[in-house]
Symmetry: none
Subunit: 187 residues, 2 copies
């Protein structure tokens, strides 16, 4: 496309086409590493799964490393055991402690790594890497969980690009959780 | 709090404060043994998971025992197999048979016990203990599933305290399913 040669009307049409393309591509989000559900209530606990597809024809997915938010840390994070994978978590001392019902939280899980012990995800497979996390922060409108997907051929796919509202979806968006208004019972 | 000494206005303020506390405490539900989803349609079948966190630093969760309602029994209950756990169910003869499409049900599952065979849940882990149950009763507005969580150090945590609307959340609430108006298709 040679946009420099187009007049204003053509530019508008092109923009509309780009919009339509984005809309159509929206359907491909499932082929990304993404967080399920895609939204959760502020202040609540939530079971979150990182839906991870193997996108290669000739290699397995053998590792997933997810970074948890540090600006708005989540005080309680636990991981769901998963047959065929070991899970390690990394805690970081918080710059600013978070006060909870159970007292002050001075460190939080900031990285979770799943490593395949039995071959991992084959071509054509996906899996859910699941955590329980809460209370979710009440301030931001979304949380980003940057993820690195490791393949058996050594490739690492970085799902770390920010998702910007109104902009076209990046090629490798970071799994992003939209935070919604707290419900009355916190669920 | 000394409510007996308060006038009406103070009582209203206190009630409002209690409400605010509930709102804030709602967020801790996920660090409890809780039922997911937290609500389901009356009269329908529902897949229910008992989300169970290991809350200890130095012991594993090795057992979970869930009691099903007997006043409003659920005629059909089945359990999802789970690697590393054996599952036993206990049936009880019903005081009052329940009539279903498949005839009269005279006994129902009233207790389900998961027992770890491979170490159970380690510190920092949670898991989902899943059943399919239905038809859910049409009368009550909620169902309580009292749960006992057993640790490898012998401790048993009893998640049996009733959740009372408008009151502060107890320390160990019973997993409670809110029953909502039946949808048109019974699901």
């Amino acid at each position: 496309m040679h946009r420099v040669r187009m007049g204003r009307a053509a530019g508008v049409i092109a923009a509309a086409l780009v919009g339509a393309t984005v809309l159509a591509l929206g359907g491909t989000a499932g082929a990304h590493v993404s967080v399920v559900p895609s939204s959760a209530a502020k202040g609540g606990f939530q079971i979150l799964s990182f839906s991870t597809p193997n996108e290669k024809d000739n290699a397995n997915t053998v590792g997933l490393e997810v970074t948890l938010p540090t600006k708005y840390p989540i005080p309680f994070v636990s991981v769901k055991p998963m047959t065929g994978w070991t899970i390690t978590t990394e805690k970081t001392k918080l710059a600013k402690p978070v006060t909870t019902d159970d007292g002050q939280i001075t460190e939080a899980v900031t990285k979770i790594t799943w490593t395949a012990t039995a071959g991992g995800l084959e071509p054509g497979q996906f899996d859910l890497f699941t955590i329980s996390a809460g209370p979710l922060p009440t301030k931001p409108s979304k949380l980003e969980f940057k993820a690195l997907q490791t393949y058996s051929d050594g490739d690492v796919v970085s799902w770390i690009e920010p998702v910007v509202k109104g902009a076209a979806e990046p090629e490798h968006p970071a799994p992003t959780l939209t935070l919604t208004k707290a419900s009355s019972d916190g669920h």
